[in-house]
C-alpha cells in the first residue's frame, strides 16, 4: 500500500472516526457476543408467562399470566428446592469461611515457606478438575459394589455396606464434604493473601510486648481479616439462590431416590427442561431464580458498597 491511496482515504477514515473510534472497534466483538449470548436470550423469560403449545413453537403459545408460577408454588417442589439451595449455601458459606480462615492462618504461621508453597499448591488442585471427573472419584469411594468405603473401610470396622446412591440421609454431608474438598484451596488462599498483606510491624510490636502466638492471632490477624471475611460472606449471600449445578447433579449421579436432598433450583430447571418435558415449570423456576437472585445480588452489593466502595461490583 503506497502513501497516495492512504491520503486519498484520509477524509473517509476521519469521518468514520468521528462516530466510530478504534476503541469502539475494540469493544465490538465482546458487545456483539454478549448481545447474542446474554441479551437476546433474556427475552426467553416470557416463556414463563405462556402456555406451551409444541405445535406452534416455543414462543407461540397463549399468554397465561402468572398461572405457571401459581402452579409451581403449589407443588412441594418449589419449597423443597428453595430450602435446599439456601441451606446448602448457608452451610457452605459458614464452613468454607471458617476453614478458609483457619487454613489461611495455619499457612501463614508455618515458617518453612517452601512447605507452605507445596501445601497451597496441592490443596488447590481439586478446584481444577472437572465435575464429571469429581463425580467419578466420589463414585470410586461410595459405589456399593466397588467403592473404597463399602469394600475396604466399612468391612474393616465390621459394619454393613451402605447403598449411598439410594440413601438420602448421607448426602447433605457428602455434598458439603465434596464442596469443601473442591473449594478449600481457593478460600484459604484468599485469606492467606490477606494475612500476608497485614503489616508485619504490628506483629513485631506485639512480640516485643510479649504477646503469645494465640494472642497475636486473636488480636491482630482476626480483626485485620474481618473486613475480608465480611465482604466475602456478603457476596456469597448475594448468590444464595444459585448453586453449583454440577455438584448437585453429577456428583449424586442424578440418582432418583436422592432428589429430596439434592434438588436445587438449578437442577430443577435442568430436569424440568431435559428430563420431565416440563418446560413451563422449568422456565417459571428459572425466572423466579433470576428475579430473586437479582434482588439478593443488588442488596449484597449495596452492603458491600457501604463498607468498601472499591470492592463493590458497580
Amino acid at each position: 500500500m503506497g502513501t497516495a491511496p492512504a491520503t486519498r482515504t484520509m477524509p473517509l477514515a476521519k469521518r468514520m472516526r468521528r462516530w466510530f473510534s478504534p476503541l469502539d472497534l475494540m469493544c465490538i466483538p465482546a458487545v456483539v457476543y454478549l448481545l447474542f449470548n446474554n441479551y437476546i436470550p433474556m427475552y426467553g423469560l416470557v416463556i414463563a408467562f405462556k402456555k406451551i403449545d409444541f405445535s406452534k413453537g416455543l414462543y407461540g403459545g397463549p399468554w397465561v399470566g402468572l398461572k405457571n408460577f401459581v402452579y409451581l408454588f403449589k407443588t412441594p417442589d418449589a419449597w423443597l428446592m428453595t430450602r435446599n439451595t439456601i441451606l446448602y449455601n448457608l452451610a457452605f458459606i459458614l464452613i468454607m469461611n471458617f476453614l478458609g480462615v483457619a487454613v489461611g492462618i495455619i499457612l501463614s504461621e508455618i515458617l518453612a515457606k517452601r512447605a507452605t508453597k507445596v501445601y497451597q499448591t496441592t490443596i488447590l488442585l481439586p478446584q481444577l478438575i472437572s465435575i464429571i471427573i469429581v463425580a467419578n472419584l466420589v463414585y470410586g469411594f461410595l459405589s456399593l459394589s466397588s467403592g473404597v468405603v463399602n469394600k475396604t473401610i466399612l468391612p474393616m470396622l465390621g459394619l454393613e455396606a451402605i447403598d449411598f446412591y439410594s440413601s438420602p440421609v448421607y448426602w447433605p454431608f457428602i455434598l458439603t464434604g465434596v464442596n469443601i474438598w473442591g473449594g478449600i484451596g481457593y478460600a484459604s488462599l484468599l485469606y492467606y493473601a490477606s494475612i500476608i498483606g497485614i503489616d508485619r510491624e504490628l506483629y513485631d510490636a506485639a512480640y516485643v510486648d510479649g504477646a503469645s502466638k494465640f494472642r497475636q492471632i486473636r488480636y491482630i490477624t482476626m480483626p485485620m481479616l474481618k473486613p475480608t471475611v465480611v465482604m466475602l460472606v456478603i457476596m456469597a449471600v448475594g448468590r444464595i439462590f444459585s448453586s453449583n449445578f454440577g455438584l448437585f447433579y453429577q456428583v449424586p449421579m442424578n440418582s432418583g431416590p436422592l432428589i429430596k436432598v439434592t434438588q436445587t433450583i438449578d437442577t430443577y430447571v435442568f430436569r424440568g427442561l431435559m428430563q420431565n418435558n416440563n418446560i413451563p415449570m422449568s422456565s417459571a423456576a428459572g425466572a423466579y431464580q433470576s428475579v430473586v437472585g437479582l434482588v439478593t445480588v443488588l442488596l449484597a452489593n449495596y452492603f458491600v458498597r457501604l463498607i468498601d466502595r472499591d470492592s463493590a461490583l458497580m
Binding site: P41, G44, V148
Partner: protein, 297 residues
C-alpha cells in the same frame, strides 16, 4: 537465626504441618485412587472394589482405550485440545481488547458499556432461549464453534477484571506518550499494553483454558455427532448411561454393555492427567490470579 531454626521444629510447627499434610492427603488420595484403579485388573475390581494397592495390575483399560477403541479416544482428545487452544486464544484476544477500552478514562462510552457488561452478570434468560438462539439463529449445532462460543468465550467478569488490572497497572501517561509518537490505538494495545500485562494474561488464559478443558455442558446441548465429542462429553455420556440404567433398567429387560469400571477410571485419568502434570508449572499464575482479584475457577 538460631532461634528461628529452633522454632521451625517446635511442636507447634510440627502440629501445623501435620494438619496441612492431612489436607494435602485429602486432596491427593482420590486422584491416586483413580490412577491405581485404572491399572487394576477387572476381576480384582469386581471382587475387592477400588483400592490404592491392588493385588493384580492390568493395562487392559489403556489397551482398550488406546488400541482397541483408539479412534474414539484419540479423536475426543484432539477435540478437547483443539477447543481448549483455539477457545483460549480467541478469548485472550477479545477480552482484554474490551477491558482495555473500558479502562481508558478518555473513552466517552465507557460508562454505558461498563453497565452493558455488568448487567449480564445480574440477569440471565436461561437455558432454553439460549439454546434456541444458538441453534435456530446461529445454527452452530454440531460444529466446532458450538464447543467454543456459548458461554465460555467472553465473560463479563473477566472483562471487568481486565479493566481493573489496566486501570491499576497501565499509567495513562504511557499511553499519552505512545500517542505522541504517532501510535494508533491498536498499535498501543498490541505493542505496549498487552506486553505489559503478561501476568494477568497468563492467569486469565489459564482459567479460560481450564474452563474449556473441563466443559461438558456445551457438548451436551449442542453436539450429537460423535466426531465432536470431547473427552468430558464422552465421560458424561457414560455417567448418564449408568444413571439411566439405575432408573429405567427394569423397563428395559435386557443388558447393555457399559465400559468396565477400570475403563471409566482410565478415561477419567487421561482426562485429568494433563492438568495434574502441567499444574505445578502454572500454579504460580493461578495463585497470583486469586490474590489479584478473586479469579473464580
Amino acid at each position: 537465626m538460631q532461634r528461628r531454626l529452633h522454632r521451625t521444629f517446635s511442636p507447634g510447627q510440627i502440629a501445623l504441618h501435620l494438619v496441612m499434610i492431612g489436607f494435602m492427603l485429602a486432596a491427593l488420595v482420590p486422584f491416586l485412587l483413580m490412577i491405581m484403579s485404572s491399572f487394576t485388573d477387572e476381576d480384582i475390581l469386581l471382587k475387592y472394589g477400588y483400592t490404592l494397592f491392588p493385588s493384580k495390575f492390568s493395562l487392559y483399560a489403556y489397551y482398550y482405550l488406546f488400541v482397541a477403541d483408539a479412534v474414539t479416544i484419540l479423536r475426543s482428545y484432539a477435540v478437547t485440545l483443539g477447543v481448549t487452544a483455539s477457545g483460549t486464544m480467541l478469548s485472550l484476544l477479545l477480552t482484554p481488547m474490551m477491558g482495555y477500552a473500558l479502562s481508558r478514562k478518555d473513552y466517552r462510552k465507557r460508562g454505558v458499556l461498563t453497565f452493558y457488561i455488568f448487567f449480564t452478570m445480574l440477569f440471565n434468560g436461561g437455558l432454553v432461549p439460549q439454546y434456541l438462539m444458538y441453534t435456530q439463529i446461529l445454527h452452530i449445532k454440531n460444529t466446532f464453534a458450538a464447543l467454543i462460543v456459548p458461554n465460555l468465550l467472553i465473560s463479563a467478569f473477566s472483562i471487568l477484571l481486565m479493566k481493573s488490572y489496566f486501570v491499576l497497572n497501565i499509567h495513562p501517561a504511557l499511553i499519552e506518550a505512545a500517542k505522541m509518537d504517532g501510535g494508533g490505538e491498536f498499535y498501543i494495545f498490541f505493542r505496549i499494553v498487552m506486553p505489559l500485562s503478561t501476568p494477568i494474561l497468563a492467569t486469565m488464559g489459564l482459567m479460560t483454558g481450564i474452563g474449556y478443558w473441563n466443559d461438558w455442558m456445551n457438548g451436551l446441548y449442542y453436539i450429537s455427532n460423535a466426531k465432536f465429542f470431547s473427552l468430558q462429553v464422552l465421560l458424561n455420556r457414560i455417567l448418564a448411561n449408568l444413571s439411566f440404567l439405575r432408573q429405567y433398567g427394569n423397563e428395559l429387560g435386557f443388558n447393555i454393555p457399559l465400559p468396565s469400571t477400570a475403563i471409566r477410571m482410565a478415561m477419567a485419568t487421561i482426562g485429568s492427567v494433563p492438568i495434574l502434570v502441567l499444574y505445578p508449572f502454572f500454579q504460580k499464575y493461578f495463585v497470583k490470579g486469586i490474590s489479584l482479584g478473586g479469579v473464580k475457577g
